[in-house]
Amino acid sequence: MKSQKQGTAPVGAVMVVGGGIAGVQAALDLADSGFYVYMVEKMPGIGGVMAQLDKTFPTNDCSMCILSPKLVECGRHLNIEILAPAMVTGISGEPGNFKVQVTQPARYIDMSKCIACGVCAQKCPKKVPDSFNQGLAKRKAAYVYYPQSVPLKYAIDAAECLYFKKGGKCKACEKFCPTGAVDFDQTDKSQEISVGAVILAPGFKPYDPSRYGAYHYAAYPNVVTSMEFERILSASGPFQGHLVRPSDHKEPSKIAWLQCVGSRDQNHCDHSYCSGVCCMYAIKEAVIAKEHSKAPLDAAIFFMDMRTHGKDFEKYYWRAEEEQGVRFIRSRVHSIDPVPGSDDLALRYLREDGALVTEVFDLVVLSVGLEVAPDVVELAQTLGLELDASQFTQTSSFAPVATSRPGIYVCGAFQGPKDIPQSVMEASASASAAGELLSAARFSLAKKKPEYPERDISQEAPRTGVFVCHCGINIAGVIDVEAVRDYAATLPTVEYVENNLFTCSQDTQEIIKERIKEHNLNRIVVASCTPKTHEPLFQETIKEAGLNKFLFELANIRDQGSWVHMHEPERATRRAKDQVRMAVAKVSLQQPLKEFELPITKAGLVIGGGAAGMEAALGLAGQGFKVHLLEKKEVLGGHARKLLNAWTGEPVLPYLEGIVQQVNDHPLIDVHLNSEVTAVTGFVGNFVSTIATGGKEIDVQHGAAIIASGGHSYKPQEYLYGQDERVLLSLEMDQALKEKSALVTGAKSAVFIQCVGSRIPERPYCSRVCCTHSVENALHLKEINPDMEVFILYRDLRTYALRENLYKEAREKGVIFVRFDPENGPQVAKLADGRLQVTVPDPILGLPLTLTPDVLSLASAIVVQGQEKLAQMFKVPLNNEGFFLEAHMKLRPVDFATEGVFVAGLAHYPKPIDEAIAQAKAAAARAAVVLSQDSIHAGGVVAQIDPEKCVGCQACVGVCPFGAIDYNAREDVCEVNQALCKGCGTCAANCPSECITLLGFSHKQIYTQIDEALKELSFSLDEAAGG
């Protein structure tokens, strides 16, 4: 806040430019931690590119299904104001107090009147290519951006509308609109908005491959881009999810993916960088296409280096090849030619053995790269920001979300090409940065959540409403959802039933609320996906309609229905009916549950004093929260101390010394060196952790915890490591370079071996940093001695995203790259004359290559050790490789399912320092969401003992894992402390008199579900079998 004028309080509002997943996350984090957010989106609805994707890797989650709840949350958030379509046209002021000019083009629809009935689009005579569907389908000039759009309001495309083109004719939409929402007199609006900070999340534009002459994208309809293919696969796409090719709607039997179109290529597009995401999305598209295809589908991916460097990506790649049979062909395809007399396409390519091959495919997908859109470059000019050579934002590795202009932050693909989890982390990181700048203004403009008056239903008989979701074709493609709806209408207590295309969409939330009022409903069942992801959304909806949120039940007919009984539609429908019947019976017995409020300890505990831990601590302290920072060793700094440079060439040590100083000087940070956590009790908002320091133990109270316990280098047994001092690990090479050791300055030849301990069955993951690290160090060696012979022996070179420029520079400077296959890897020996010898078969030449380096650097894996103890204490999971497992790989990359606990740095997955810092700041933002609240809600699903029936046997006391039950000797009964109870229900199952009820899962409810589950099953199955 240096640059802020003395005495002026910062403005407690932030502008987020861009409504894609990054913008949405940044907006939610800020709005949830006490700031008012203006979200400026250039399209008529938010969602960005993620809304257009079919599935997401590596979990194959349906993209819309996981995004939609976040969009809805944004749309309904009290402290987020969406301006769409809108553009930023100017800015003045300074950090903490900006004035931003925003222009909103006329929509020609009065948003307050539009009910999204779609009559305007129905009546509109003008068809235009639908940009949301990548031009593969048509929409009207009066249109809604996409069916789940937020806000769900129509717009008139003035560039296409006949009224505007033909001077006052047509107006069909106006004539038929039932609410008089069409307003042709609207004009573009400009306004000036005061905010304290700006976060840029404008995203990317898929590369237009028309410029690749030999691929004939513009000429051949069956050459499509990967974005077009996403729409082809999508259930809400132009072909309703049926896998067909555009020219003749034939189901393809052979599809090829061509990688690096518009990436790693200066000849066609001047994009020397790697787009970082295309390898994974191509594999995903190939796997999903194979799933979609009724007949066996041949899927082939033509690539240069397979870059599956993210968490769980390598396993995904292996499975695609070994289990799903996707073919991977290491070759850059020369040209695509038409096959005369058909719509097929012939690919000509060189095989690795040098043979020229021609192969015919039905459909070719160009894996197009990511680039910065021209209007975003313009925006950067308007805001006065520096961009790099590829027009991504210029940032430092040590401040990855700060632009060149203080108070303006960046996240997502405009910062550099990246995938969704990385964008989400940066989004939270930029929220943390803005929160630090504006912490004095927290809650100055943000409104507090209204309390919704709860309807007293104690005198009402159950009146249940059942909403059955189509989920596009995800459910309706298998299950007869109309039959399920009609069946539900026959069930006891059911007063109202309805089908929805997407029950989770924002307009359906409004519909549910209306139906509750219209029909005086007091119980709601939604038959759709899983309660694990969607229960909170629907609970919030019924809460707004005045119902206690526990009067709700989800029947999972998708994840545990249509998706797992895809080939048995009748049986899947019967199962869906049964699950709906069970849900209705259960919810009919449900009574409103009370929640109460508990205070929050406004302090954080950060475990690990490396770069990630310190950045997380500074992030929290900068936002005004007390922090306990724990380090196992006697100094702060962790592995960053051994690191020479960030990949951008910025030296690490001065940065590290700077933050150590800041941490030590910060009045809100207590540093505990030589310390470990030995016990944790409590829960979100109210943890008590025991910290042991040199035999002494103290208890600290904290409301949130961030685990940043770091990782280690794998110490190889192979390649003479530890037996010959010329064999170094990457970090030891850094040390040798720093000390200008004779080992490196005197070397005439150097060899790097990649993937030492990574990407092997015991460690089936890529360590992400090693390729870039070796290339950096190879460049350092070339700098010391340009004549030094430097070889990098690799499997796939994974200098992802902008790091690719280093690879290019290394090749230009004469570093020699030799690829090897793991089954035929390098051999290292010490010769009789003392020299080191490395032999490796060169797959291109087919001959063994023999090298005698003076120094050998091993790119060894990043591993984690002993995370189990922390995991157990905080009740958070680890994955098979020992890394902490986040709540959701895509959208919750720093959260755990256990509330109030977060993760950052190498403890989560191998990553370079810039990404570790971004994740640490993200963890700080997520923790700040907890710590900025006044209180947390407790109660709800907890155990309750009926003192009338309890005989004081204390069978429950011993089985409670949380010590939440006490025996009251005076009354001779047991009692539950609801603040400590976590709602597992073990006590309820153990109570011999069944006098303990787990609220929400009572004995009566379980017995009823058992009855209902078994009641009609035999009947329905007999019927299915024709009996």
């Binding site: 199962r575 309820a988 035999s1018 199955l1021």
Partner: protein
């Protein structure tokens, strides 16, 4: 009921944190398994009392499948230890009464084990199909 086509009734009690999530993952991964199962979601496998299981058999289940977190992974620390004890006790009890104890099955399936979930349901359904209708039910029907 037709003789050649016995369709077993399987009731699943799955814990919210691991097996229920593993079942969702099986869905996300589109792993197919027989549709004979009906699922009751519970917070912890330790919530399933012996009464619940007996009630299920009484009401005509041919098989009961309980799914929980792996030992050490329980969201509630040690709820699943209780589950083991109860399942062993119940199986002894079933055996004592002359009822096949194999009709009650306990499996640890994590949130990341979609394939294991699908395989478990497939295997258990086939096993019960081979065993034929539960005798309690036949007695009831007779």
């Amino acid at each position: 009921m037709s003789d050649q086509e016995f369709e077993p009734k399987i009731l699943g009690f799955f814990c919210n944190w691991c097996t229920y999530a593993g079942a969702d993952l099986a869905g996300v991964s589109r792993l197919q398994y027989p549709s004979n199962i009906r699922v009751i979601r519970v917070m912890c496998s330790g919530t399933v009392s012996p009464h619940h299981v007996l009630k299920a058999f009484q009401k005509g289940a041919d098989g009961v499948l309980i799914g929980g977190c792996h030992i050490g992974d329980c969201h509630y620390l040690r709820g699943n230890y209780m589950t083991i004890k109860r399942v062993r006790f119940l199986q002894d009890l079933l055996k004592f009464t002359g009822f096949e104890p194999g009709r009650l099955h306990l499996e640890w399936i994590s949130a990341a084990e979609g394939p294991k979930f699908a395989q478990t349901v497939r295997d258990f359904t086939e096993k019960i199909r081979k065993m034929g209708p539960a005798r309690l039910k036949s007695a009831r029907a007779a």
